[in-house]
């Protein structure tokens, strides 16, 4: 039983990280050079950081809005509900990969925003199932956080998209100096 629970947790963690890595790589990939390693590494790191922050905020806000529940049952059920909700990213991530690498689209923000909002709703529903009742305050809390992160992604993307080329330029400069 405990082994099954741990396997489930590991599987969810793996899928979630993979989704955020894929989102980051797809979002920051250059339509003219899809396999640029600087874009891919930066995108993967940005995606992981964003996913880590998003998960932390969802967990914290659900805990904050359900202090009594947390005191009685601990934080684990809240964490599991958020992690199960994160699985809702999978369809959006796969569609994003198809859009970027098969259809060659460069506009990816809609996929990320819709995926993040779906995760918020799903986390509230999962938590409601754990708790035994659906509460509007939890939906509002998770939707609010999701909206904030969706907005944050859209806003920061415009600036962060320039970063990989700056890093690439910097690395090129250092290499040039070293090799004389």
């Amino acid at each position: 039983m405990e082994k099954d629970r741990q396997t489930g947790e590991m599987g969810r963690n793996f899928v979630r990280r993979l989704c955020f890595i894929a989102i980051g790589i797809s979002a920051f990939s250059d339509p003219m050079e899809r396999l640029n390693p600087y874009d891919a590494i930066f995108g993967a790191l940005a995606g992981l950081l964003f996913g880590w922050l998003f998960r932390k905020f969802l967990r914290s806000f659900l805990s904050l809005f359900n202090a009594k529940f947390k005191k009685e049952k601990g934080k684990k059920p809240i964490h599991i509900a958020v992690d199960k909700g994160m699985l809702f990213l999978v369809p959006f991530t796969v569609m994003l990969l198809v859009a970027v690498y098969y259809l060659n689209w460069s506009e990816t923000r809609g996929f990320v925003a819709a995926g993040i909002m779906a995760v918020g709703t799903a986390a509230a529903i999962e938590f409601g199932r754990t708790k035994g009742k659906q509460e509007i305050r939890n939906t509002l809390a998770t939707s609010g956080i999701s909206f904030l992160f969706s907005f944050l992604w859209t806003l920061s993307y415009a600036y962060l998209a320039k970063a990989p080329s700056l890093v690439e330029g910097g690395v090129g400069l250092i290499r040039g100096i070293i090799s004389g």
Binding site: F88, V90, L103
Partner: protein
């Protein structure tokens, strides 16, 4: 006990905001042909706007707008219920207890968000001359994925293992078929 029947309007917005709760209330009361009409009109508006965007740029004529609207309508009328039927088959094989009509109806209703986005997109396209097929059309279809997962999960008694792969497959099928239409 009061047994109120929610209006189609309430069901459409409910499916956008709270699909799980709305489905519990409306699954047995919403007539299946109204649910199919939701997906038919949603795709008619979505595909029609794709044609309209191409018409605005001068790449296609007005007849193409009518053709894409008709294709979209037929897509929502036939293909989406067919995908709903295939979903019901998968659910049946995994010992699901829901009837076919309920599953197809719920599946079509999950495109309520796409209908609302499609209507808004058409309004912005006509009033302000915006190109709306991606901003509103694709967004609407993306927004339908969340309710679709929740719908399938409700129909399977809360199993993510089935709802997520089905929603992913349907999402990709819709995305690719739409892109094929755009390249016609």
């Amino acid at each position: 006990m009061e047994n109120t029947k929610p209006s189609l309007f309430r069901t459409i917005f409910g499916m956008m905001i709270n699909p799980g709760g709305t489905l519990k209330k409306s699954l047995f009361t919403t007539k299946w042909h109204l649910s199919v009409a939701v997906s038919a009109v949603a795709f008619g508006l979505f595909f029609g706007q794709t044609g309209f965007d191409l018409y605005k740029t001068g790449q296609k004529g007005l007849e193409f707008v009518l053709l894409t609207s008709a294709i979209g309508f037929a897509y929502g009328l036939l293909v989406i219920p067919l995908l709903g039927f295939l979903t019901w088959t998968v659910l049946k094989l995994s010992k699901g207890e829901r009837r076919m009509k309920e599953t197809v109806s719920a599946f079509c209703l999950s495109y309520s968000g796409a209908l609302v986005y499609g209507a808004l997109g058409l309004a912005f396209s006509l009033a302000l001359g915006w190109k709306t097929s991606v901003a509103f059309g694709v967004t609407g279809v993306l927004w339908a994925i969340g309710p679709m997962i929740i719908t399938i999960r409700e129909l399977t008694g809360g199993r993510n293992a089935l709802s997520i792969p089905i929603a992913t497959t349907v999402g990709i099928a819709v995305l690719i078929s739409w892109s094929i239409l755009g390249n016609l």
